[in-house]
Symmetry: C2
Subunit: 315 residues, 2 copies
Amino acid sequence: MIIPTIADVMSAHERIAPYIHRTPILTSSYIDGQVGASLFFKCENLQKAGAFKARGAANAVFSLDAVSAAKGVATHSSGNHGTCLSYAAGKRGIACTVVMPRTAPQAKKDAVRGYGGTVVECEPSVTSREATFAEVVAQSGAEFVHPYNDPRVIAGQATCSKELLNEVAGLDAVIAPIGGGGMISGTCLTLSSLAKQVQVYAAEPDRADDACRSFRAGRIIADDAPQTIADGLRVPLKDLTWHFVKTNVTNVLTVSELEIVDAMKLIWKRMKLVVEPSSAVALAAVLKNSNVFVGKRIGVILTGGNVDLDNLPWR
Amino acid sequence: MIIPTIADVMSAHERIAPYIHRTPILTSSYIDGQVGASLFFKCENLQKAGAFKARGAANAVFSLDAVSAAKGVATHSSGNHGTCLSYAAGKRGIACTVVMPRTAPQAKKDAVRGYGGTVVECEPSVTSREATFAEVVAQSGAEFVHPYNDPRVIAGQATCSKELLNEVAGLDAVIAPIGGGGMISGTCLTLSSLAKQVQVYAAEPDRADDACRSFRAGRIIADDAPQTIADGLRVPLKDLTWHFVKTNVTNVLTVSELEIVDAMKLIWKRMKLVVEPSSAVALAAVLKNSNVFVGKRIGVILTGGNVDLDNLPWR
């Protein structure tokens, strides 16, 4: 296990700067009034390819030496990581293969292809995915870029809270959603080095509460096929992300499906931002636990905006 | 007719700065690729109260001397101006009355009340509106702030393209939607003083093409009860806004209802921004007339984001 350091974050930020947006940080007086706190929303929904994962993917892709890069990159993901890896590989002009269940939404396959990547379909099972992925790597020699359990990816995600720290003074805490834990790990990495006094909260759906249960138990406990509208948060912690969660996270807060949808709609309505359900989990947790956050200055990471506009979770 | 000057814009910007967001300017590689140009979207959908009209309303409200302010402000508007005037009056702590047809959407009435304003309902006719409004003013002595045909309002709206000029170098043109012409007049005012080389394009629905027909005819021609999904653009030009349109606008471009909805969905999908239909009219016109804009640097003003999330114009 290679644990990334703050030096890796600094070099990541220089490396990826030409390929990512420095996303705006927005505020809402109305939502501040609801919570009784000052919230600073870091808008990674406005990031390249629509999600913070462009940061980690770009860092991994542009870290490769020329020989490795020539063989391309590969991953398995039916979510934002696949799209963002395809985006980053396209920027470097190298091949990207994404293994995805044939049942994945057409829009996700189109997004990977839209940035020039190749989709290889597998059956919707772990066995098929692993076999298919092994074959892809054996044939191409492509570099595997894991969606989150990868030091290059974590160092990339860590640049997000570095920007937040640079622009917002006096933060008391930062909260982000937790799925596999890449964004939370990056947040822990940056804050534990540059601003130790800032607490890190992780937020997750109570229907996919493996991080919360792991945090309480002191060891990784994986969910068994969790179902939640926050589809980016269904994946389990791995050793590297668990390291950061157990070392640096103040608490893991969970929210219901209804609370997620309500927070999502609130962001759309009052902040005029398209965010995906996973993005809204952090605000949902702040609204639910306003006693924890009242009077404080809180960074809230809006993680992504890739959502099916024809199929919204309200009428 | 009092024509506002660039000095009015400068003092407006200082006056309103504490009450407005300096909205971000965002870009989309994907949309740039579609047009073959570089587009800089000024995100007034992220403005206070969800629309650029907070600028003009705040300028009018904070321009009042203490004696006038004590009597409050009043307007007739079932759109963003009513909401924004209520917002600005609330910030100054003075009364705001908005006359609105009883048939106006509940959400619009709620928005005015949400910022502390009073809604007075009239029948949905011009006669009733004028009689009701005259009564409100007679009783209160409130200062009438017209939605657009007011030099204070135009000077306020003009601060938007002042910010755009400050942040984006080498613009060739700015395009904004045109209804009554407040935003376009403000844009003309700023650009004709600070950056004469930058062309101004106005965009409007072909189902409410009074500005286009006026521009061609050289005199104001009003529509008769136009119906368009771009509900902010149904109002006619007035003398003051017509002055700017005839003097400074390069061309008025019109688009169909379908083109508006397509552009709106494109902004939601690719830029992750909630914009109302009126906001999308400018991009629709750029997409339709890419031959005019190809290779250029274009400022596109996204005017507002107040839309009914339960009733979107796509399935």
